[in-house]
Symmetry: D2
Subunit: 365 residues, 4 copies
């Protein structure tokens, strides 16, 4: 095991609350406990391909002293870049030269190991670079909570809180106007935010990507609520929820560059429902980027701090090629190869779904 | 002056945080201080045209004991109804019979006077009914703060707070991704929410209906911020802001039944800016109905309580045909005829606009 | 297994955010999914000794429809009562007759099983009553998070959030005035709130009951921060933290009826530190009852809802004598006899403590 | 009128949310709109007596770019110092040499005018320095809102919000336990925070310094609430509220260096009430320093920004010896000599007090 003198740290992929809290924990633990130097890499992995004079920044205690509470990342982040995976061989980089270049960059700049904070894309890149010889520990970030190998990712609790508070706020006005309100939350492939926030805010319909939905049960739920005078209905829908009928027009319209467009499903639902549920006004609110920002919740701050400290310990112990993870109340390490390029879906028969059904929440099926 | 035994109370028009706080203050003050009976009228003025068995509800202390903190209105509200004003004679009801019917309803049900909580539409109806002989005191509600005759309407402070907090949250993520973020807030004809929230959250561009905007100054502001490395820009736009160029296509597309469509201007701006500001991603967030709900702020709760109490005192003193109003630190009464059917715009040369300019905020002109 | 027709539900011990959310989940799940009747018992177990006419309340859907977001408990709660345990045989009730009476009450009122929401005291009583023949499922409630058998209790996340937000707020003013601020949080025997909130809010000293503290390391930490110009220090102290020196005077003064007095340790610390840390003003803030109230966080609402639903399922399956529990991401059942009358302490060598030390936080030892 | 090249800015007295927002507005407006240099003075007026190398800091755009949302003050503040007023001639400085020294400091360091952000003490010092020839504009800061010459001071809305939210939180737990809760808020001489927060949070008893209170009406209010089953009572008390009976022991015990001790009145009340109101537990919560910190509310941020901009304009116009002030919706200037050394009390017969009485709130008289 090589002696560590200097480590790099980068934040990659979509923004999530708590990135700065992880950076802070890494910097303090690495410098105070181990006496290492820490350099920040700007703009994620892309920074490893650029001029170190602008893409590297030396990080000391004073640089991180007041960032624990701040959303965003002082290092910046990018969603895509040169680290694109091949369409034919999805586990290999389209251009293997970028990996070689990144390794050379680290060697040239004395970076002995890397902490990479990010989601599934980050894990894939980290996996490639580790295989080529760059020691990396990853930290599981995504508001979507859809990474395997950890009970929870950081950022999820804050996004969930933002969504729940917003639904609380929409609820009172829905009730005043007897409205059907469609609230679209994040979740392209999985329904973690929608199911948690929907349960947490007392929604009446929750639509998640894991369960293709029909309109009929939704209309029934609205009618049922009307029948005893409740007179308003809150529908929480994940951005990636899909109608079972497979309305081709809809899907075409909604997609943009292979991705669900924010607000697409909410608008589609409003159009489908508006003339079919009596007198009710049907309106949508698309929370969108609100869910990626803001000061992390107390729980997320603690999780980020534990994750960041553990990432440093793992490097010190030579246990790289891993992702820090939460299991119950313990912080552990998971081998990246076991979890890379897979997603954590909501179990169809798990207690969460059963709890929702038992409460009479319509899941669209 | 007729002796008062029973008063009615109704909430009308769009939802606003604090309606319940006014209802509570009216009910407690009227019953405890004056010994009157209070009945709530469901669904605004429409309730005066319906069956009293379902549209009236007797209100006592225990009915309002825990509603101070709750958004929405326990009486329900409607945006439109039979109280439509004539297109040819905009100060007269299209169908004068509805006024007669409403008066008869009050007489039949022993309602000696009415507290009408609402915005400009409410004031117009109240003005008509008062002229026909029904004593009414109005309470100025609108998150838009665009009523004349009062320094502030209730609901505005809460909507402003929701918008400011949301922009705070968007700010960190805009910075992490070097984005231009367009945040659309309420304000069809006036820019109170956008100007206050924009200043309060440190926005870089604020677009308000009172000042038609051009794209050029906005692009300049983005470029200027790039020039010193700020690299992200927050644009706050009122739903009713208008491009000076008078883009006909845009206006057509945006309108729906004579009303700006929520999200219309935000989407238009994103499309206009996205290929003209360098590498920046340009994204929108439409806060929409979020701003109408939620627990009222401390300030709004106090204002609502003072307004509600004063409305009752005014009835007791026979000073109807008035609207309660805030002037400096004092609660007063304003004659409705002086302010009805007019709007309070942001003064073009007032200190608010000057302050924004002095801070280097771009107002689009 | 006896057929269930009617179940009782009660809330016992100190208040905690989320009690109402559990009640709601129990009532909806029991009535909708199983068709049972649910009765609420007022004021905890004491209600089983009183007149059922006042202590029982029939609970239906409409009674719980808007309580998910509300702190407190619609059933009321008591801290102590007739269910006192013997001093000589701490596992037996001082007066066994109260158990007999409670069982008879349930039989008389057709209560086939009970959901008891509470902390360690509740578990002890539940354990006794179950042994005598009353089927009971417990739900682990305590803001202190010190129950064994579950990863987390409900109420903890909300209390932690309240404490963290408060410390955030105190931090800015401590910095402006170069102050040493002592913030006392709940935690009579364990330091869960203090350690989590201290880490989450970036405290510089955290004192927990599990680690007796000395003044010297605290003074050193203050001096160290001064040495590089930080000039203020945040000390988070659990109400039950104890000085190692065993200052007899202090202990005597602090205790009141066998319990630490709120504010006792904070005041003692201020007095000890105030003349020994240079120019710094030393001030205290005692959060106290603030931490027991308020709307539960999103996470707590979800946890409460899952706990409540599971409690009902366990009764349906005849698996009583259990406590619902969270293990990782799963909701499970734990046998009460395995965990009753014991406490969950912070592991001295766990990652939480190590993380704190690695960050340079002083733990007083 | 002398040409301005450089201005100084300082923050003085107790901390208040929004100090940084004012600093930001002053720096941006002075540098961008007028092209002046701005220097910050550390630790209030004391900084004018110290070594400029450490007490002065050059402030540019980038120094204030992200402080709008932050509580506290980047310049630090002190409560007292060498600017003490004579006991015999309370309008004159005990040591006039400090004023001379401060003026010389400004001359030596090219400071042409000063923006002094503070409360009554600050106004007094500013008044003295202006009379000796240093042009000063003051900005009215105090969470207590007790300055004459302005409708509101900044910091008040945030403190009020903190207090109101805390009372909301305490309310649910008071209700669960049938408690009498005494919540002490700031307000040494005036009851602005207590009366506003008490009304805003629906308190049942509000005790303010302007109205000496008796215990009898409080006990009556508790009993009255018990009589219809409300069973809990929230008492909000200003730190400076006084019992009419003039309990000498109490007053002696409570005072410390001429100042009410935080928590003094709350503890006294708990002791007086605890055995005299039936079964109720009586508990206290002392909010204390919580109210001075935290991110300013949206309203406070706007007010601070307008105040800061106006302070700069006034200097540019040579209108010094003034305090910026809010009057209705307008920002104006008030001559300091008209308002210095006086306090704004709650009008005994104003609508606020009348509203409280009309709602059945007990004011202790």
């Amino acid at each position: 095991m090589k002696k560590i003198n200097k480590i790099g740290i980068l934040t990659s992929g979509g923004d999530a609350p708590g990135l700065n809290a992880v950076i802070r924990a890494v910097v303090i633990t690495a410098t105070r406990q181990y006496g290492w130097e820490v350099v920040g890499v700007h703009k994620g992995f892309e920074g490893l391909l650029e001029d170190p004079k602008t893409s590297l920044v030396h990080l000391e205690l004073q640089d991180v002293i007041s960032i624990l509470q701040q959303g965003g990342t002082i290092l910046g982040t990018t969603n895509r870049g040169h680290f694109v995976f091949s369409k034919d061989h999805p586990e290999e980089l389209e251009d293997p030269a970028v990996a070689t270049q990144a390794l050379q960059f680290c060697k040239d700049n004395g970076i002995d190991a890397l902490v990479a904070i990010g989601g599934d894309g980050t894990l894939q890149i980290a996996h490639q670079l580790e295989k080529k010889g760059l020691p990396i520990v990853s930290v599981p970030k995504t508001i979507d909570n859809d990474l395997l190998g950890t009970d929870y990712t950081f950022g999820f609790d804050t996004a969930l809180t933002t969504a729940t508070n917003a639904i609380d706020q929409i609820r009172t006005t829905a009730s005043s106007h007897n409205r059907v309100m469609v609230v679209e939350v994040m979740g392209r492939d999985t329904g973690w935010i929608s199911l948690y926030a929907g349960i947490g805010a007392g929604a009446h319909v929750i639509l998640i990507p894991e369960i293709p939905f029909k309109l009929e049960p939704i209309l029934k739920q609205i009618a049922w609520r009307d029948s005893f005078g409740a007179n308003f209905t809150i529908i929480v829908v994940a951005e990636g929820a899909k109608p079972e009928e497979g309305d081709a027009m809809y899907l075409e319209e909604r997609e943009e560059g292979g991705m669900a467009r924010l607000g697409g499903i909410a608008k589609w639902l409003v159009n489908q429902l508006k003339d079919r549920c009596g007198d009710h006004d049907v309106r949508e609110v698309v929370l969108g980027h609100l869910q990626r920002g803001g000061s992390p919740t107390a729980s997320d701050r603690v999780l980020c701090t534990r994750f960041g400290a553990e990432a440093v310990h793992l490097i010190a112990q030579g246990r790289t090629g891993t992702m820090v993870s939460l299991r119950g109340t313990a912080i552990q390490a998971t081998d990246i190869w076991k979890i890379v390029a897979r997603q954590k879906f909501i179990p169809y028969n798990g207690d969460l779904v059963q709890t929702a059904r038992g409460l009479g929440i319509c899941l669209g099926d």
